[in-house]
Subunit: 223 residues, 2 copies
Amino acid sequence: MKKKEVLVLEDLLGSNKKIAAGIRRELTSKGILTINLLSSPGAGKTSLLEVISENLSPEFKMAVIEGDIETERDAERIRAKGIPAWQIVTGGACHLEAKMVGKLFPEIPPDLDFLFIENVGNLVCPAGYDLGERLRCVLLSTPEGDDKPKKYPKAFATSHCMIISKADLAPHLPFDAERAKREALEINPGLEVFVLSSLDGTGVEAFTAHLKKALHELRRNNA
Amino acid sequence: MKKKEVLVLEDLLGSNKKIAAGIRRELTSKGILTINLLSSPGAGKTSLLEVISENLSPEFKMAVIEGDIETERDAERIRAKGIPAWQIVTGGACHLEAKMVGKLFPEIPPDLDFLFIENVGNLVCPAGYDLGERLRCVLLSTPEGDDKPKKYPKAFATSHCMIISKADLAPHLPFDAERAKREALEINPGLEVFVLSSLDGTGVEAFTAHLKKALHELRRNNA
């Protein structure tokens, strides 16, 4: 990269970081746990949110910010579950930025428990942008292959959880969950790993239990 | 985007276009058909190249340029098939650019029939960068879902072929090939659509026949 390009990129990332820090402070003080979901297109982020919504309801209140390049489809799927959802259409941009989330702030109900942000389907670019989340979770779906963590390391290096999704398809695939897990943990030994299927429900309970625990810790620290 | 950012981006894309045009001229004059493969991570680009190599050999000579953020894994898989392969490791960058391909020029054998470029696994960013290819093919794997063309339109709008890959998994999935095809054709009515499985070989013959025909046309135009 030429010098001018580097400067522009640093400026963008610097201002994104500042906005993200403000969002995190604000949502944390309200006792809301914010989760940024990252993955390739079609790894099952929206399907996971659909089953989570059934698991958390009615005890917990959740809402979803959907990021897509085009269409309002994902927000419509979430709203069909009775969950508030806002669609950010990036119109070409390959990732969400903190300022896009910030613009929705006035609309976010203050009595939420969980705010999920479903990023644009892209295993590369979203990893570089803090959105003010408390937890970042990367999904790796079994059909994508067990060799992906080392090929797309940043998403795994910057996440708190890794979710191996579409576990129901594993019997039909050359997918070694142990290899995927081992590679991801070599990149980031602190990753919490979940293996789940939104289709048959396997592992969903363990993941939501983790989210509830994280919410509890956030509020205990606030108290 | 601020004005400075727009200017920098235009400058980058402008110089990429010029380099790409030069690459296309050079490879076309040598009678080499260049194919740029685009898709999400794990949609089966490398597996497709493996089966294509078996189908084209020994009648045709092919070589592969592999683009990945990290690791030399894909080039190693191709070389294991006896096919020359060069790995471009982008070290974080989310797409290949024409200048990266241009740097490999001195190493490309002049007697090739097909030069495949496997782009970084990303359904968004690579669509914006001409690499000097003659054909651009986008893969959509069945597990990604039939709703992806409208959500990631640029890759479909700028391609000549769409390959619905992992057709063998379709019986286990809520995937409607007709819907995916219809949506893609609404974006780009000129798309040639292929449904194939690299695992069981379905549809591979039809795709390679298309490539051979395109090679024949290129050389007829050269004559």
